[in-house]
Symmetry: none
Subunit: 177 residues, 2 copies
DNA sequence: CCTGACCTGCTGCAAAATGTCGCAGCCTGA
DNA sequence: TCAGGCTGCGACATTTTGCAGCAGGTCAGG
């Protein structure tokens, strides 16, 4: 079988290494880029079929890289993989052409499944429980932050909360559950 | 100006009515459907330009309705609007062709903004203030509390917050801001 | 009538989150 | 180069929580 080239874009070396090993063992040819800036040239040269892309990285965000990646490699499948997930960025990512959006931690099987999932299946189960207040708050913050292009000060003002507080909230993980 | 037809698909009559009034006041021609089943014939006859679609409804889910709606009206813009949001369904919805995905509670401005976002509308009258986190939280609490017939304990459980905390919050004002 | 299962209000305390100030470094447009 | 806006962060006084309990009330079944 012809090799399948897999590009991992993530600034967490530990995560990247583990994933890369796991993929290599499954027969993929893998490459790792540790930032959006680094990823672009690698993508041009490596010409990957599949990509996992972290959103929150040092420097440029993955959301900016995504369209450029697809411009270069229109056929490659990109799955977003992030620890700071939110509906707002998920919507953005899918609109920009990602084939799926996963929350870390995600194991290799999940990632591959997400990449291979062809068309949307409307079967999705809908959560029976309403969102927790914390979750709702997180989603709202992400959404407004997004609208403000990541400007924390402006977001805090609109949200009627102190910049310091927003800052602290953002450093934490999104609400699990 | 030619009328813009707006279809609201939601099984919460209170919500639908409020939204419909608000939209009518802004010059839209509105119709309401209370279930996915009911929405289809209405859509065929009404031929809407814009749609808000609730995911979790009695009977069929909105996610199943979405593709059929777009089949009938390929040009209409659908925004998903639900209180039971999740990243998984958000991804699905966007893949299936929704232009956006919002978490309830969302006000009329948000909904319209979400619908227009896609249009490459460079204008983007950005400014309407988004809801403050506190207000959002308050609205959400009220809604869940309502669904639970005022049962504080049950509500607290669903909301993932301590009963005592909910209790204290409820004693305070309805959020000044 | 008693009992168990829940709800509700309320008190106290310790832990965690927030509101405030301030400072220094960075950019950016004037 | 300067003014002004953003960002990260430290420190500290306040508030807001999470938790554990207690007493009373309601309701359904035994």
């Amino acid at each position: 079988m012809p090799e399948t080239r897999f590009l991992i874009v993530d600034d967490d070396p530990v995560f990247s290494r583990v994933l890369a090993r796991s993929l290599t063992r499954r027969g993929y040819s893998t490459r790792v880029a540790e930032s959006a800036e680094e990823a672009l040239p690698v993508a041009i040269e490596f010409n990957p079929h599949l990509v996992t892309l972290d959103l929150k990285m040092e420097g440029e965000t993955g959301l900016l890289l995504l369209p450029r990646l697809l411009e270069i490699q229109p056929d490659c499948k990109v799955v977003i993989l992030t620890g700071y997930s939110s509906i707002a960025t998920a919507v953005e990512a899918i609109k920009l052409g990602a084939v799926n959006y996963l929350c870390k931690p995600a194991d290799t099987d999940e990632i591959l499944a997400a990449l291979e999932q062809e068309e949307g299946n409307p079967e999705q189960a809908i959560a029976e429980k309403p969102m927790s207040v914390n979750r709702l708050t997180w989603e709202h913050i992400q959404k407004i932050l997004n609208e403000n292009d990541g400007n924390i000060s402006a977001t805090a003002r609109q949200l009627g909360m102190h910049r310091r507080t927003l800052q602290r909230k953002l450093q934490k993980r999104p609400v699990r559950e």
